[in-house]
Symmetry: C2
Subunit: 533 residues, 2 copies
Amino acid sequence: MRRSVIRSAKALSNCSCQNHWNVRLLRPLASSPSRFLSSTSVLDSPTPPPSSMPPVSLDNINPKVLKCEYAVRGEIVTLAQALQEELKSKPGSHPFDEILYCNIGNPQSLGQQPITFFREVLALCDHPSILDRSETQGLFSADAIERAWQILDQIPGRATGAYSHSQGIKGLRDTISAGIEARDGFPADPNDIFLTDGASPAVHMMMQLLIRSEKDGILCPIPQYPLYSASIALHGGALVPYYLDEATGWGLEVSELKKQLADAKSKGITPRALVVINPGNPTGQVLAEDNQRGIVEFCKQEGLVLLADEVYQENVYAPEKKFHSFKKVARSMGYGEKDISLVSYQSVSKGYYGECGKRGGYMEVTGFGPEIREQIYKVASVNLCSNISGQILASLVMSPPKVGDESYESYSAEKDGILSSLARRAKTLEDAFNNLEGVTCNKAEGAMYLFPCIRLPEKAIKAAEAAKTAPDNFYCRRLLNATGIVVVPGSGFGQLPGTWHFRCTILPQEDKIPAVVSRLTEFHKSFMDEFSD
Amino acid sequence: MRRSVIRSAKALSNCSCQNHWNVRLLRPLASSPSRFLSSTSVLDSPTPPPSSMPPVSLDNINPKVLKCEYAVRGEIVTLAQALQEELKSKPGSHPFDEILYCNIGNPQSLGQQPITFFREVLALCDHPSILDRSETQGLFSADAIERAWQILDQIPGRATGAYSHSQGIKGLRDTISAGIEARDGFPADPNDIFLTDGASPAVHMMMQLLIRSEKDGILCPIPQYPLYSASIALHGGALVPYYLDEATGWGLEVSELKKQLADAKSKGITPRALVVINPGNPTGQVLAEDNQRGIVEFCKQEGLVLLADEVYQENVYAPEKKFHSFKKVARSMGYGEKDISLVSYQSVSKGYYGECGKRGGYMEVTGFGPEIREQIYKVASVNLCSNISGQILASLVMSPPKVGDESYESYSAEKDGILSSLARRAKTLEDAFNNLEGVTCNKAEGAMYLFPCIRLPEKAIKAAEAAKTAPDNFYCRRLLNATGIVVVPGSGFGQLPGTWHFRCTILPQEDKIPAVVSRLTEFHKSFMDEFSD
């Protein structure tokens, strides 16, 4: 597949590409009756407006909010929720009896069990008064009790219900930086850690810091995780796309970065940062270390902040691949604080832990001067702190039980069971997609997703046009209606114009995978039969 | 006290009043060496910049971030943290042996204990596999176990580690809306509830929705809780101040609202919303129902969204005062969905529960059309959901144990103990402040703060000028250095020009209050002696 058409950064950032990016069409403003109630007319009017006209309408809210889209919980999911209600009220009303949410990396919603040790510690920290009770010895492992005590001792006054330092509890940041050091073999500083409610708020914080206007550009992979496009839209910046090469397993080529950077600059955009998602979302590739060195060098040369989304660092399935943090790569090149500005995102929602609902995560911020760190701290302080359970969990994820600990055996068995099962599921689904007519699917070397490419027949594209939707959205809607399987159209992530994809998680439980495969296969066959040219 | 000088909305929003609002002076940009590294020069340069020059500097970050200030965790707190380190490394190095954080409404950091029932339920939901174990019966109350089962049954798949619906778990929203109905006597709809990580993100969401540019104004009380000024600055809007009348116990007069609204409009500002904090922060007043009716009528007439900060709804100490939600007031006036757009904020951080670290809260959004609700939902969905423990706690706070439940007695005793102690502490501190020379202090009818007014001698004002700081900041710094007591200067909240205040929480534990009072009194006397004219 060739990158034959490179869309301009400006066009993307200005969202003139609505049919490509935004599947859901916005209500046409010109024909909206509420258009005639501008706030000015209200204010100039001596009499109050009729009570049926609300002071807030699509015409007078922040246009950045209107522009923002987040397909992972977009139209297809809303349709799925409605179907689920129908199934509840009228069982048998559809050719399936459950909705299977493959739209989102939400492992526990599909039956993945939490790691016992982590939950034991969380429960004990939530209700420390049972720590001294004899019954507790019977209910909880000894090392969970010990860990809970350790954590409580790191919290001033053992107050798990108090606001913490706005970067997070210092002792937990110590644990996390020790975990980073053990992972990378290079020093980490607890003062560089900002604990956040999942990784998303941390991404927003950096976008808020860097973006001054629509002339500030953020280089993002296409396809990308739509948090990035949403956050750039909300902060009013320009998304500068760089395309991953599907033909080489979603390869990230520095030559492409250079080309898009030059293109953006020629359009008057000031590139501020480069987003890299490794392992890739939605694309599942794991970057080779050599490739990462090239990216680091590029950011250093161009004075770009490297925003490294590393939330899938534990999700690597390809035996020949290994996760390397960008900080480790930069340090191993001899680049320190003064050479490159680097932010690494981690989350408790992914990995083998999959604790999405706990909203824990952190960013490690290196290579910024103290005056900038102070600004980041200030913005963090406005929201006071992230939730303490999420903070505790982030520390546990970065320092799980070790050989010799009472929980080590069960912890290892749970972890290995989850990761090896994910690897098997990824392979089975990848094979299944590749067996479908007109579908090609790269390997999920890591992360939690497959992003197959569907060559849709002309007749299907026409039908989508008639239905006033994008072809990939049309396909995903039909898939949902026929099978109850929820996936996200590629247009929500970005894709080469003229190509169509969807993102499907590898998360359905293993015993359900055969049924998923046969439902998918059957649907696809009948879809292609219906629309074959 | 007369509102002799009313500052213009524009002046405030443009932050030309930096000496009044922003105590911490920003590093002078003109003299910064990094000024000469603009991103343009980096990009235009054929050779990479010297590695010691970071790509991100105060000159090229988002100016809205620079503008934002949050005094509650500002300069005085940073000084206090440094003092605390000194006390740790050199005990006896200061005339006090501990730092007493009265800067922030963080009850559990000062020793307040959590409500046992709430923590039991949270622990059980964190580790549900112990629910069936016999030891659990001995450790947890029967109604906590029952409530945990109820909550788990409301969560699809009982997965407390899964992302929830982006508004929060539906069953918990049902519980919350039932709680609102019981409180107000008017219907509430679970679809109006958006659960959030504390109230702060909910405030940001509405500011993000409403503010399009610096021409959009948000009416805020002065003094205000600086989350509002910070959020308005971050979203690039105009803070339109309305002054509370200190002479009438921080009275909120509709005539003042009208005057400031007209003034803002005459300057080309479009007012979008009115923030009311009730009970007041930092001012502690509890609004009378009649006053609230006037405010509702004003918002309805002027087409303003009413943003009602009601997080202190359980903190009412004046026996003659009662909390009424603005929604109840509006509905009792016969105003429904079509008449007024109203957002009510609630949090688990305040009340008698004080669970700041759990980051639970919600907003109830009424009187917006479905197309606007969809936009709010979309923005919420970008961050997926708020943390599940916080969601659970928000539901518990709105439906605590009832008469006849096993935990009811202990729950009631804990709650009443905390609230009656807070009332006593408020009174003792209020009296102590009023006994100081040149200090007057209104009653804390509610909330968690006192906001005394200090008439500073001319000599102290001159000394502050010489020290390049605001007089109230000067006073608070001296107070900290002499006593270890941390309070927040009034300039962080806004105050009538020429008046000086500070905010002090009523949260030190009761056995510490006498020492606080005597340290305060002694300090104040020596300060006045030193600076008396």
